[in-house]
Symmetry: C2
Subunit: 215 residues, 2 copies
DNA sequence: GCAAAAGTGTTAGGAGTACACCCATGC
DNA sequence: GCATGGGTGTACTCCTAACACTTTTGC
């Protein structure tokens, strides 16, 4: 079977990730500067067009790698964006995801085949982006705030475990509000997501705190 | 700009709806029998390939109309299905939705350009379907159970208002469990989704019950 | 008067939120 | 000994869930 009806031609799928980090108390998103049309020299989210022989998340991994050099990032589905004119080139449906990495532990490629720059932007300082990427980030932040309360997305920050005060600090940066220390402990420990170890360390204070790990 | 890389060719988007009804206490889903390849003579969900000049929900409405004669159905997004081999013809991404109608108030076209039959199936008696539609229904049922607790999807059953016992019966059919009458009242009335009227009527019992409407 | 369904109130447990004091450590 | 942050318990509210009796009506 061959598709000949012009109504079905020239359609494609974008797979797009809003990649976040938390840096010195600020939630930031990774943007790359496009080298090619459309939107040449605009900042944009990482992602691109899916190949017809790869699964969605595999295509997203490939695009992230091609545009940043990052590998093996865990992502969560966020939302679908499908307005018919969202791409000026042809009909593209965007399947969007969120991801989280510790910017201080990775190196982002700043010059690739497709990008001429890459930077972390505070989420309230994001410039005007290619396509509908500003709108995608807005929804991605909502997804992120939901997901960190339900999943172990934040484990990327703590490969060796974490103290509750330092985990709380990350939560506060993402949710953009202060949390009560006692209530935070109760909630997190009740969630059955983390487990205590025998070790202790100091974070910002002078007193040692117990180290926990994600299960 | 023209797309010439073969990796981007032959991609398309399916928009698919799991259309539900509740009939005599049973949750049912609408299936149509396909007239054309692929999956000729298989049962399938309503939906089809999106045109490149229409928005997602507009394309879904058109497909539903073409295959059932139904118009103006409200739908909610459910999930994305994108495995690379989910269609034997070419690479198709499925954006799936749920909808609810009162089967007793509409006429479903049983013979269209693309379908040779249409029937309501109890959800535990759904046959083996075209594509990955069985999996899509499984997820759609989950989405449905979530959505009826948060939205007014069920208003299609009660254009003239409803008594709480009859609304409860629909909830019980969909959630597939009995609910406590007192707790159901408290919860629904607290949700600020419905409002009482001055009228009363009898449903299954002898005693009159107050009629409510969705806001 | 009785069967059938509608209507109603109380209690207990769990989750979220607000809030104040003591503890360990480094200087 | 004091400043800094870590650790803890209690009270209130809200939501959920369990549960029994009275009212209305048709027959």
């Amino acid at each position: 079977m061959e598709v000949t009806n012009p109504k079905y031609e020239h359609q494609g799928i974008h797979v797009i990730a809003s990649i976040f980090t938390v840096d010195k108390g600020d939630l930031k998103v990774l943007l790359v500067k496009r080298k090619n049309e459309p939107f040449k020299n605009s900042w944009a989210l990482t992602g691109g067009a899916l190949y017809n022989d790869e699964d969605l998340e595999a295509g997203l991994s490939r695009e992230i790698y091609e545009k940043t050099g990052l590998k093996n990032m865990e992502v969560k589905f966020s939302k679908v964006f499908g307005k018919k004119d969202r791409s000026p080139v042809m009909r593209m449906i965007a399947i969007t995801y969120i991801g989280m990495i510790d910017a201080s532990k990775v190196e982002i490629a700043k010059d690739t085949l497709k990008t001429s720059n890459a930077e972390w932007f505070k989420i309230d300082e994001v410039p005007s982006l290619a396509y509908d990427h500003n709108e995608i980030i807005t929804e991605a932040i909502k997804t992120l705030k939901d997901e960190i309360l339900k999943t172990d997305l934040l484990k990327v920050f703590f490969p060796k475990g974490f103290t509750l005060p330092e985990l709380q600090k990350i939560y506060e940066s993402i949710l953009d509000k202060k949390l009560d220390r006692r209530n935070f402990r109760k909630k997190i420990l009740n969630m059955d997501m983390i487990t205590a170890t025998e070790e202790e360390k100091t974070f910002e204070g002078k007193k040692k705190a117990k180290i926990y790990k994600f299960k």
